[in-house]
C-alpha cells in the first residue's frame, strides 16, 4: 500500500526567508502524481503545486518549488520569500495514475511565518 510521511509536525520561518517542508512516500509503482496542498485558517484546501512522476523537471509555481527525488521517494516543498499569508497547514499528497486510485494525504506540517 502507498503511504505518505511528513515528519515535521510544525515549522516556523521569518518573513522573507526560505523554508523547506519535507515529504517522503512509499510506492512500488512508476506512474503517479504528487501534490502539495495548503490549508489556511479559513480551512479551504488549496492546491499549491503538482508534480508528475514521469517528469524529471521540478515543478515551480511563483515562490513555491519542489525538489522531487524519485529514487529517494522524496518530494519537498520550498517556499521562498515567505509571506505572512503563507501561514497554514501544508499537506503532501500522492495519487497513483489511473482513474480508480484515490488521493492519499500525509499528516500535515503546520507552518507559521513570523513577522
Amino acid at each position: 500500500a502507498q503511504t505518505v510521511t511528513q515528519s515535521q509536525p510544525e515549522m516556523s520561518v521569518q518573513e522573507a526567508e526560505t523554508v523547506t517542508l519535507s515529504c517522503t512516500y512509499d510506492t512500488s509503482e512508476s506512474n503517479y502524481y504528487l501534490f502539495w496542498y495548503k490549508q489556511p485558517p479559513s480551512r479551504q484546501m488549496i492546491l499549491v503545486i503538482r508534480q508528475e512522476a514521469y517528469k524529471q523537471q521540478n515543478a515551480t509555481e511563483n515562490r513555491f518549488s519542489v525538489n522531487f527525488q524519485k529514487a529517494a521517494k522524496s518530494f519537498s516543498l520550498k517556499i521562498s520569500d515567505s509571506q505572512l499569508g503563507d501561514t497554514a497547514m501544508y499537506f503532501c499528497a500522492f495519487k497513483l495514475g489511473g482513474a480508480t486510485n484515490k488521493l492519499i494525504f500525509g499528516t500535515g506540517t503546520l507552518l507559521a511565518v513570523q513577522p
Binding site: 479551504q44 484546501m45 488549496i46 495519487k95 480508480t100 488521493l103 494525504f105
Partner: protein, 114 residues
C-alpha cells in the same frame, strides 16, 4: 457550479440524532472524496467514488457512517446515531481523475455533536 459546494457550513446536533451532509462537486468531475478532519489534525479518508465503479468505503469508521452519490453527481454523507467523537470538519473534494488528477475541495461542514 464554479467550485465544490458543501452544505450546511455548520451543523450542531444532539447526540443520538442522524445527520446528512451534502456535497455538490464541480460539474463533470467523475471522482468524489469525503474526508474527516478533527481539530488541528490531518485528513482522515472516509470514502471515494469514481464514476460507475464500486465506491472505496475502506475509510468509513463504523457502520453508522454511509454515503451515496446519486446520478454520478451530488453526494450525501449520512451519520446515524451521532456521537460526540463524530464532531469534526467533513471535507468533500472532486476531481476529473485521469490526466487531471488533482482534487478540488469544498469549504467543509463543521459538525458539532452536543
Amino acid at each position: 457550479g464554479a467550485g465544490v459546494s458543501q452544505s450546511p457550513s455548520n451543523k450542531v446536533t444532539e447526540k443520538g440524532k442522524d445527520v446528512e451532509l451534502r456535497c455538490d462537486p464541480i460539474s463533470g468531475h467523475t471522482a468524489l472524496y469525503w474526508y474527516r478532519q478533527s481539530l488541528g489534525q490531518g485528513l482522515e479518508f472516509l470514502i471515494y467514488f469514481q464514476g460507475n465503479s464500486a465506491p472505496d468505503k475502506s475509510g468509513l469508521p463504523s457502520d453508522r457512517f454511509s454515503a451515496e452519490r446519486t446520478g454520478g453527481s451530488v453526494s450525501t454523507l449520512t451519520i446515524q446515531r451521532t456521537q460526540q467523537e463524530d464532531s469534526a470538519v467533513y471535507l468533500c473534494a472532486s476531481s476529473l481523475a485521469g490526466r487531471v488528477p488533482e482534487a478540488f475541495f469544498g469549504q467543509g461542514t463543521r459538525l458539532t455533536v452536543v
